[in-house]
Structures are given as C-alpha cells and as structure tokens.
Amino acid sequence: MYRFITTAFALSIPLLLVLLGIEVAVAAWPALSAFKLSFLTSSRWDAVEGVFGAAPAIYGTLVSSALALVIATPLAIGVAIFLSEFAPPWLRQPVAFLVDLLAAIPSVVYGLWGIFVLVPALREYVMPFLSDRLHLGNTPFFSGPAYGPSMLAAGLILAIMVLPYISSVTREVLMAVPRSQREAALALGATRWEMIWGAVLPYARSGIVGGILLGLGRALGETMAVTMVIGNRHEISSSLFAPGYTMASLIANEFSEATNDMHLSALMAVGAVLLLVTVIVNVIARLLVWRVERQGKA
Amino acid sequence: MTEHAVAELPVANAPIPAAEPRVAVHSLDAYFGAQRVVRGATVDFNEGQVTAIIGPSGCGKSTLLRCLNRMHETVPTARVEGEVLLDGRDIYAREVNAIQVRRRIGMVFQRPTPFPTMSIRDNVVAGLRADGRKAPSRAEQDEIAVWALQRAALWDEVKDRLRDSALALSGGQQQRLCIARALATKPRVLLLDEPTASLDPLSTQKVEELVYELRGEVTIVMVTHNMQQAARVSDRTAFMLHGELVEVAPTSRLFTTPGDERTEAYITGRFG
C-alpha cells in the first residue's frame, strides 16, 4: 500500500509532463497545421483576419534573452568568483544571501519597478545618452525614438532576474573544483587570477555553461516583468530602443481576450514552441551541470 | 599475536551445558547479486549461550548474522538460500513473515543508532510500538523501559533524564541504549554486529560485561573482529573465511587447539 502510493506520486511527475505536452500540442495543432512553417517565419499577427505568424515574438524572445545573458553572465561569474575565491568569510554569507534574494522577488514586483523606475530612467537618461552623447543613434541597434518600453528594458530586467540563477550554479561548480587543481597552479608560480583563469575556470567550464543555460531557460519563459516593460508590439526591429514582444508576454497579453478559436490555437502554438525551446535548453543545461558535479565527486 | 598469548587470555570457562540449539543454520548461501558471500554455512547457536563469529573483514560474518533475522534481504539484489530454524521452524518458510521474525530477534549494530527525534524513554520502547495497533499501554511501556534500561546497565545514568533527546548521551551510552531497545521486546535471541567497534575501551568493557551477564537468559550471536573480545565473552566461537564457515568450537578449545590449520593461522596472526 505504502509502496503503491509513493510509486503513484513519483509516477505523477512524468505523467504531468506528458499530459502537459499532449494538452498543449493538441490545442496548438489547428494553428500549426493551418499556417505550417509560416507560423514561425511570418510577422503578420492579425486576429481579425485570422492570420497568425509568431516571428516577432520568437525574435523578441531570443533577442531579449540574449541581451540578458550578455549583461548578466559576466556579472554573475564575477560575483561567483568573488564569493568562492576572494571574499573574506564574514562577507561571503551576506553577499551570497543578497544575490540569492534577487531570485526571491516575484516577477510582478520586478515589472512594477520596471514600469515606474527602469523605463522612465531609460527614456530620460540612458537612451538619450547612448544615442546622442555616444553617437550610437546612427547604428541600427540604438536608432529611433526613445519611447521607454523597449527590448532594451526587457533585456535589462531579465538580466537582473537571471543573474542569481547563473551565479549560484557557477558558485557551486567553482566550489566543486578540487583543491589540488588550485594548489597545482599556485605551486607553478601563478598569481591568484592566473590560477583562476588557467586552472579553476577551465575545470568548471561546462558547469558554468550549464548555469548560463539554466539562466537562459528562465529568461526565455519569464513572463510578467517582460510583459510590463517590453511595449508589446508585433514588429521586428533591429533597434533595442523599439518595443517588441516575447512569446510569453504575447500569451499573457492576448490569451484572455482571444477572439476566436484560431486565435486561441495560435496562442497555444506559441506556448508549444516556447515549451519545446525551454525543454531543450533545460535538458542540455541539466546534463552539463550534472556532469561537472559528478566529476567533482569522483 | 602468539599462541602463548592467546592461551593467557581470560577465556569464558563456564562449563558448556548440553545445550539445545535455539537457532540452527543449515547449508545457508547468501548472495549479493551473483556474488555468493556466504557459502553453505551450517551451525547451531545454542540456547542461552554466547556465540562469537570471527574472521577477517569481508569474510561474510556480518552477512551470516544478518541472515538470522532476515535483515540481509532488505538490501537490493540480496538473496538467501538454505534454512534457518528458529525453535525448529524455518524462518525462510513461505508462510513466515520477515517482520514477525525481526520482532522476535533483537539486533544491535556497529554504530549506535538511537532515533534522533525520540527521547531516551521513547527510544527504549520503540520496538514495542513497531506494530501500531497492539502497543502496550503507557504505564506498561514505562515499566518495560525501566526494566530494559536496568537490564542494559544504563538505568542509573539516565533515570533523571528519560525525556531528553537520546543524542545527548555519549557513544557508549547510546550503544547500551540500543541494547536496551533490543531487549525491551524480550527477544529470545540477540544479534550483535561488532557492537563495540565504534566505542572507547571503557565503554567496550561495559558492553562486554553486559553481554556476559545476559547469557543464560538470551541466546546471543556476536560478530567481532576482535579475537580477545570473542575469547573474553563467548561460550563458543565460529571462524569464517572467504564466506565459508571453517570451524565452530567451544571458545577455549578453538583458541588453544584449533582443529583447522586456517583457524590456527588466523588466531596466531599469520593473516587477516
């Protein structure tokens, strides 16, 4: 009896995942079969005409996540190195705690802060500074009017949100690097930084990549904060100043107002694409992190 | 160790009564997966006597012990063939329930295993509550707890703090607590798996005295890697090597005039 119940509970996890996959896939099927590949490549999202192409949302998801990783990764690795190698013991716990706390803040609170602090700050100071003072306004990445809600805002807020994930995984894999590796490097006359760069980081590399991918998984699926600052527009623009859309925010915005079955199905199809992408990213990330942790134990 | 030194050890010289076997093992094989770790063991454990099982580490002595109360089979891939008769009944017979067998046979392990969430008193009576429905009343439990703690020579040390956590006790006290816990169900057989391996000399001595005192009432089987300990407390000693039961004999005889040259090699320290 006991065995039966715990087995059933354990079984519920694969079942839940399978059920989730099937439900989403079935609901997405009408849209996917109607638009086929153009669902991924077309930029036309017209609920009135019943024509749906999710390219802007896919593009926005990829760009905002990439931007977030570009900003967050060096910071997160820096924090992790500081905490595992340099920080005096009395500082280690509090700083680690503060960084972990970033992960505890609800997404909607980030969004609120984004709307009322980050977006105005971008509009008033950062965007004019980038385009006028640094004369980047002529490049395709920083052109156009500074509305505020933008791909840049989404990327920045995502960077803050994924930083604690990347940094905590990196810290763990750095801790898993054996002492002998460090001592060997120091014995060769390496400076502290040379030891880290030459011995510690290469050893932990695939674990750190795993951590970055876990962060990517978070960024791809993050919904509320992005929805509140990205501007929600179905357009692909090379400029980070322009508003955009992500798959998650598209669903969040339009789902409860979906006008007809095809619209619903199209949103489900967006969900299915998002599901597929995040599952792949997560599986790769887990495998990488596991491999390093096992190495460390062996 | 020389033969001479062994002869001088204080051997339990009590005359061996013509004892009945309380536990009889017949051509027992024990496996982990495909590996046979006990090979065709046949041995009687006599009523009221202390039998020590000695042998080098990895010889299968703990596994043999764990076959006597069906603990061996709790490990994945572990398997037993052969017979173990408790009072003439095969504990491996199909209609026999392993849980019932374990309730009638007490066991104490290498390291003390007090339950950390329970008080000293609750630890002692934990075995009485193994079957939720038929537990004795609180008053009866208290009575049994006092009796078992006295029996385990621990009562004087803990009588004022029965409600404290068992983790507050020293290692030696914890081990005697585990013996009290095993005695509380009034088993006729007590299995000790290197009970002093993790204890300091003084605690070891107390446990040995306790074992010596319990003989007569309880049939004790004790695995030990310490030959002097076997010599000090046991009536009979069994020697195991590579999963095989080489020799079983009265302790004084096994240590002075062993019947098998492998036994002789072992007790004179030529290997192991």
Binding site: Y2, R3, I5, T6, F9, A10, I13, V24, A76, G78, I81, F82, E85, F86, L98, V99, L102, A104, P106, S107, G111, L112, W113, V117, A185, R192, L214, L220, G221, M224, A248, I251, S256, M268, G271, L275, T278, V279, V281, N282, A285, R286 | M71, R102, G106, M107, F109, R111, P112, T113, F115, P116, T117, A126, G127, A130, A166, L169, R181, T185
Partner: protein
C-alpha cells in the same frame, strides 16, 4: 597553465589585482538593483499602506482608499490549495526517489522533475486552462491552485529527496531490525528525522509560488469581489498588483506599490523562516 606567462611579475600581479577588483565591482553591481528595488518598495509601499489595505475591498476608479482584502484572502486560499496537493505528492515522490536511488525509473523521474521545474510558468498556466478551465467553461480558484501545485511538486520532490538522503541508512536498518514494516520505518523514523529539512523545502516552495502571476492569469483569473468559493474566480495579490500597475490611474499605482510591499514581505518572511528557523539538526552519535 596553458602558456608560460611572458609578462613581468609586477605586471602579472597588477593584472591579478585589477581582475580581483573587477569581481568586487561585479558583486556591487549585482546587489545594487536589489537594494534599489527594496528601498523604493519600502518608500513607496509604506506611504500607501494603511489598515484599510488589509481589511477593505477594492474601490472603483475615482474613489480614493480601498484595499486588497479579497486579494490577500485569495493568495492565502491559493497557497492552501496548492500546498494540500503539492506537498503530499512532492514528499511522496521524494520518498520514492530516496528509497529507489539507483533505479532507472528514479533517474528518469529525477530528470523530468528538473525539466518540469524549468518550464515557463505561463506554459503551466495555459496547460491548466486547457485541462481544467476549458472543459468546465469557467475560471476557478481550484484551477489556479492546481496550476501552482504543478509548479510546487518538482521543488518539493527534490528537496525531500535530498533531505532524506541525509538521514543515515543505519537508522532505517535499526527500525527494520526492530520489526518495523517498511512503510512505518519510512514515515515514523526516516521522514520524522528529515522533517526539519523537508519543512524548509516546503516553505521555499510556498515562497516561490506565492509570488507567481502567470499561471493564475487564465485559471484563478482575478475577481473584484469577496469570494471564498473554490469554484469561482478568485483574486490574488500578484494579479491585483499587475492589474493596478498597468492601469492609468495614480490611485491604483500607489495601491500596486503597497501590494508589492506586502507580497514581498510575505515572500521574504517565508524564505527567512525557511532559512533560519528550521535548520536540520544532525549531530552526535552517527554520521
């Protein structure tokens, strides 16, 4: 070392010092947003917070005052529903994984539970809508609670498994040798011993779902009125904050700040309790 350092020792030392300095700068930059967010939240939230916030119902646009009593109740109810499903399933699955460590099935479940944990919450939301809301054609607190439970299960499963692994195997053996049946050994000895750690894990999971919005948008949906029915749509703090934040009214914005402060306080208190109050205690006697 891949290549012999060519620079002078002084140059190498300086470079090392600069890089150490950069990691310090990174740490400051990483903690800065947190301090900014917390500071502003306390400043803006506290000024709009009043007793009414906890006891009054939302007022229509244009009227001043009003509170989020219904949303607070909703969040509590949603957490209760999610916990009553997510905790037993998660703890049971964790027990299973800890007891069947090496099997292929356990490996699969462990892996899938990590995958489930990484799924976007919005996807869980549309799944719950498709599975629970669409067939009955109305939003409900129950659907919201189940969606949150689905997010809770993998978290609770993994922490339970890890905490049970910390319980020495010798305790399980000792209980079995006393004649405890397997299930009683697991529940009264192993689970009891691991309980402080499991409680911590459960609290962490509750803290995480308490702030979730995306899975609730199309399940619990939100409700401007007082509701205690599991079959009706129900409000929740995160939903209410979202609705107010994207509205054009200043009055609602300040309520959103107050709501965010309360929500964050709730999440932080639960996390802190989990971190400090229930440290598991394995010491002495066994290792």
């Amino acid at each position: 070392m891949s290549r012999p350092p060519r620079r002078s020792i002084r140059g190498r030392r300086a470079r090392s010092a600069v890089m150490v300095g950069l990691t310090v700068v990174a740490s400051i930059l990483a903690t800065l947003p947190l301090l900014l967010i917390l500071g502003l939240l306390i400043q803006k939230g506290a000024s709009s917070l009043s007793w009414d916030f906890f006891t009054a119902m939302p007022k229509p646009v244009g009227e001043t005052g009003g509170g989020m009593a219904n949303a607070i109740l909703g969040t509590v109810m949603l957490i209760a529903i999610a916990s009553s499903i997510g905790l037993p399933v998660g703890i049971g699955a964790g027990l299973y994984l800890a007891e069947h460590r090496g099997t292929k099935f356990a490996f699969l479940v462990r892996f899938l539970s990590d995958v489930l944990n990484g799924l976007p919450s919005i996807v869980v939301g549309i799944f719950a809508w498709q599975f629970l809301v669409r067939p009955v054609k109305h939003f409900s607190a129950l659907a919201g609670g189940i969606a949150l439970a689905a997010m809770m299960i993998p978290l609770v499963t993994r922490t339970t498994e890890e905490m049970i692994r910390l319980v020495p195997a010798s305790l399980r053996e000792a209980a079995l040798a006393l004649g405890y049946p397997r299930w009683r050994t697991s529940l009264t000895i192993v689970l009891r011993t691991a309980l402080p750690g499991i409680v911590t894990g459960a609290l962490v999971a509750v803290a995480r779902i308490a702030g979730e919005t995306a899975p609730l948008l199309f399940t619990a949906f939100g409700n401007q009125f007082w509701s205690t029915s599991v079959n009706e749509p129900i409000s929740a703090l995160p939903i209410q904050i979202f609705t107010y934040a994207i509205s054009p009214y200043d009055e609602w914005h300040s309520l959103a700040w107050a709501g965010a402060l309360v929500l964050l306080a709730l999440v932080l208190v639960i996390s802190l309790v989990a971190r400090f109050a229930t440290r598991s205690r394995f010491r002495g006697g066994h290792d």
